[in-house]
């Protein structure tokens, strides 16, 4: 079991406080460079030609007119591309689901709409774009199938399970009979639309061919180690030939977990032409790869008249591509969030003619918890029990699946503090009972849950004689605040001001760390940095103790603290030495250490680790216009220790905003005749704009957890889970209309 070691060895100077982002100045001055912004001599520009059909094959490509444009170097297609790895396994990245990954320009087969069919490479962007419009591609088209419900008949239990995604547990009890015999029953179908991540930065890669023939690659990726692995496998390169960097990433939300096709195309062109190449996708092309797949779910809840759950059934039908079995944990939450003796959960996939879906912020939980928590609200009305009381009646401190207690679960504190802040006690539960002028007012709540994960991770720190510390590993800061929290942890561990600590991330030359995802970075990289710092601290301490007449002589490492640039005896600050003096007097140029962190097996044997939340939403609805406004959200979060209350709050704020998008706005609409997403732009795919967002209040409740030495659980995803259910429940409270089909758009309000 991890003992709680405070990173400051007793003094949290920066950890736990509201610190501004250390990368803030770079981001507000325009100096922060993103993948498509790095310059190189003689940089060529690639522009992708996208397939006009969804399914079938290319019969001919006429690139003559394009190649005749002055400034065009080459139009690369499957017919003339350089030789690349043949077997599909070579294209499997670190987080690939089971199957054969998509290989761009591999052959004439078209598997999804917008699939890249050619790359036009030219001396500048304008020329490449213009020439791309001249490429003529002929196809033989087949009828695509993209309607999930129409494919339900051929759905299947995925034979190979996706790594890291728990399949539904074996049923326990007898959910069927228990449901049939229950006094109160709720059984409904819930739908969520396909959503696209749409980070503000379109996907981009710049491959720089160095003089020695190696490649420096700037990629939009949530972890450069994954890009490097992918490139070395697909192109038969050695890791030392490919250095991948991603110092800043213009939003990920999951769509940057896997290397995308622009990286492959940029490297292909760079090798083919032996010159540096940049490929940037258009906004339209951001609909040509990963997305959060829509789902059709049925949740059946049986309860006694006091609201005690007697049966839970949750079935999900989910879409994947023809070539990979992407999977999410959608239904398992229904077996974990509440205690119930009879539970049956199922998850089936159906093949669609789309690109492989992928993880999007809290994948699975956003989808499944929306259904469960809306059903719980329906049960609250059916039993006439307050929604919070209903959840408390079914509360469990033990994970019913694993039959282990949660390491910590301060969800009741979330209920209490969230309800108080929101004013829940003033709610009249009767639908349509609350008004504000012309508008109906609705108050709804829901729970959220997400895994508190940790991944094997390392970090290197180097202390130099001038008292400056460099910290680094290869994971990415995708806007989450990783640069800042690692700087805080390191500064506290060695008692340095934050300005004397430089954190470097997103570079395969740095210590190895996983992709940034799953809300595991704070726990994983944070612990690795802390361990490395403690190592350096001990080295410095030993040097200090050995100094002639050292005030630290005969003192153990455990009894000193590092503070304000000094090593001092705990409780006796008069006995201290200055850290830089130690370095100088011992003639030490640098002290360095690599720390590594991995999940605590002893902890995992005894406990399960999850974050929890209680989300409260107020909506105001103009019923004549069908317009829903989310005027207030209170999100109370139990996520262990909060390292930086400013950046962690922003994580929750942003997740709530995306949850509002999921609830009210976001829907990638397929034309099933064409198998094509129709609204491939930010005007027709509506993500929340500033005017859509009103008051959001974030509460972090106290929660002590021992899964890792820092006590952190991660906050990147928990804020979105349950938000859509809280809103849909508020819509019911306001209108008396239960809309089980996200997003809740004007037409659904008017039609209900």
């Amino acid at each position: 079991m991890a003992t709680q070691i405070s990173p400051a060895s007793g003094r949290d100077t920066f950890v736990g406080r509201a610190m501004s982002r250390v990368d803030g100045p770079a981001k507000v001055t325009g100096l922060a460079k993103y993948a498509g912004e790095f310059a190189a001599p003689n940089l060529a520009h690639g522009y992708v030609v996208s397939s006009a059909i969804t399914k079938g094959r290319i019969t001919a490509i006429d690139a003559a007119a394009a190649e005749a444009v002055p400034g065009v170097f080459k139009v690369i297609t499957h017919e003339n591309r350089p030789s690349i790895a043949g077997e599909a396994e070579a294209y499997q990245d670190m987080v690939a689901p089971p199957g054969a990954p998509f290989r761009a320009l591999y052959d004439e087969t078209i598997a999804f709409s917008g699939q890249p069919v050619a790359l036009v490479v030219a001396e500048d962007f304008d020329t490449a774009r213009y020439a791309a419009s001249l490429v003529r591609v002929s196809y033989e088209a087949e009828t695509p199938h993209t309607d999930l419900e129409a494919q339900a008949g051929s759905s299947y239990d995925p034979p190979e399970k996706r790594d890291g995604i728990k399949p539904p547990p074996e049923p326990w009890g007898d959910a069927g009979s228990a449901f049939d015999g229950a006094a109160i029953k709720v059984s409904q179908q819930y739908r969520i639309a396909h959503e696209h991540h749409n980070p503000m930065e379109p996907h981009a890669s710049t491959v720089v061919v160095e003089d020695d023939g190696t490649y420096t690659v700037y990629d939009k990726i949530q972890g450069v180690a994954n890009s490097q692995l992918y490139l070395t496998n697909a192109f038969g390169l050695k890791p030392e030939q490919v250095r991948c960097l991603s110092p800043y990433m213009g939003g990920g939300f999951g769509c940057g977990l896997r290397p995308q096709y622009q990286l492959f195309l940029a490297m292909l062109a760079a090798q083919d032409l032996n010159r540096s190449v940049r490929v940037v996708l258009t906004r339209d092309q951001m609909w040509s790869f990963t997305y959060r797949p829509g789902a059709v779910q049925t949740v059946s809840l049986g309860a006694d008249t006091s609201g005690n759950l007697q049966a839970i059934r949750h079935d999900a039908l989910h879409g994947t591509s023809q070539y990979e079995d992407y999977q999410e944990n959608i239904v398992n939450w229904s077996g974990i969030l509440y205690g119930c003796d009879n539970v049956e959960l199922t998850y089936r996939l159906a093949k669609l003619d789309t690109a492989t879906p992928g993880d999007m912020r809290a994948p699975g939980a956003v989808t499944g918890v929306f259904a469960l928590e809306t059903a719980m609200d329906e049960l609250a009305y059916a039993t006439r029990i307050d929604p919070i009381q209903l959840r408390i009646a079914n509360y469990t401190d033990t994970d019913p699946v694993e039959e282990k207690p949660f390491g910590s679960k301060a969800l009741k504190a979330c209920f209490r503090q969230g309800a108080e802040r929101f004013g829940w006690s003033k709610r009249n539960p009767e639908p349509r009972s609350m008004r504000d002028g012309k508008e109906l007012v609705g108050w709804g709540m829901a729970c959220g849950i997400w895994e508190a994960l940790m991944m094997e991770s390392s970090a290197k720190v180097t202390l130099t004689a001038d008292g400056r510390l460099e910290v680094g590993n290869s994971t990415g800061d995708i806007g989450t605040g990783t640069y800042t929290i690692l700087t805080q942890i390191a500064a506290d561990a060695l008692g340095l001001p934050m300005e004397h600590v430089t954190t470097k991330l997103g570079d395969t030359d740095l210590a190895k760390a996983p992709v940034a995802g799953g809300s595991w970075t704070a726990a994983s990289s944070g612990t690795a940095v802390m361990k490395a710092c403690r190592d350096v601290a001990e080295q410095a301490f030993k040097l200090a103790r050995g100094l002639e007449g050292s005030p630290l002589a005969n003192v153990d490492f455990e009894r000193v603290v590092f503070s304000k640039g000094r090593i001092e005896v705990a409780g006796d600050p008069a006995k201290s030495v200055v850290l830089t003096d130690v370095m100088r007097q011992t003639g030490t140029e640098t002290l360095e250490a690599t720390g590594s962190a991995s999940p605590d097996k002893d902890f995992a044997k005894q406990y399960e680790a999850y974050t929890h939340s209680a989300v409260f939403a107020e909506v105001k609805i103009d019923e004549e216009l069908g317009i829903v406004r989310v005027t207030r959200v209170v999100s109370a979060i139990a996520a262990g220790k909060i390292l930086n209350t400013k950046t962690a709050r922003s994580q929750i704020l942003g997740a709530v905003v995306m949850g509002i998008g999921s609830a009210l706005h976001e829907e990638s609409m397929l034309d099933h005749r064409l198998g094509r997403f129709m609204n491939r732009n930010l005007g027709e795919y509506h993500v929340p704009a500033n005017a859509d967002i009103h008051d959001i209040d974030v509460i972090f409740v106290d929660e002590e957890d021992k899964a890792n030495p820092l006590g952190v659980k991660g906050v990147g995803e928990i804020g979105i889970v349950g938000t859509a259910a809280a809103i849909s429940n508020a819509v019911f409270h306001a209108t008396g209309k239960r809309i089980r089909d996200l997003p809740i758009t004007v037409d659904k309000i008017l039609a209900a």
């Binding site: 325009g30 500048d124 213009y130 213009g250 605040g481 709050r649 922003s650 732009n681 005017a691």
Partner: protein, 173 residues
């Protein structure tokens, strides 16, 4: 659909004069090149971002003669003679007005954590300055409405409004 505009070539270029972040520059530019592409591709001013290239996201917002515009929707040749301020020039703009560090809106964005990934931030900042120049928005509600041309997918909206309100109140003091 094709844009049969002919192939790009040096002979098609047009000479224009722009004052960019206080520096007067003579530039030869193709008639179809947007102000955004000119800044990013030709002048290495990559602070201004391309998010959609369709005027739908606001990431490319710059100030032209003090007015905020989507630089992806403006052809560079149409702005001949104009004064352009990009995010790289905001601090200089402030310095010309007697402030010695970053522009107050830049400071406020850092203080209020009004961004996460930072990609929409240059556009949000220029848009904020444009909004304040316009002088119409007084309340939070009006700021929200007038900042709705700038999408932030990280969802920093409430912090963006806090930052702008902070600067507006500071300016009023």
């Amino acid at each position: 659909m094709l844009i049969e505009s002919g192939s790009p070539g040096a002979d098609a270029r047009i000479g224009i004069t722009l004052t960019i972040n206080g520096e007067k520059r003579e530039i030869d530019v193709a008639p179809w090149t947007t102000l955004l592409d000119l800044l990013r591709e030709n002048l290495d001013l990559t602070g201004t971002k391309k998010g959609c290239d369709h005027g739908q996201c606001g990431a490319c917002t710059v100030l032209v003669n003090g007015t905020r515009i989507n630089s992806c929707l403006a052809l560079a040749v149409m702005k001949d003679g104009a004064e352009i301020t990009t995010v790289e020039g905001l601090a200089g703009l402030a310095q010309s007005q007697g402030v010695n560090t970053l522009h107050p809106i830049q400071e406020a964005f850092v203080e209020h954590d009004a961004f996460q990934c930072g990609y929409c931030t240059p556009g949000q900042l220029c848009s904020s300055v444009g909004l304040m120049n316009e002088g119409h928005a007084k309340t939070r509600e009006e700021i929200r409405e007038a900042m709705s041309g700038n999408i932030c997918r990280c969802g920093a909206y409430t912090n963006i409004v806090d930052a702008i309100e902070d600067v507006m109140q500071g300016a009023a003091r």
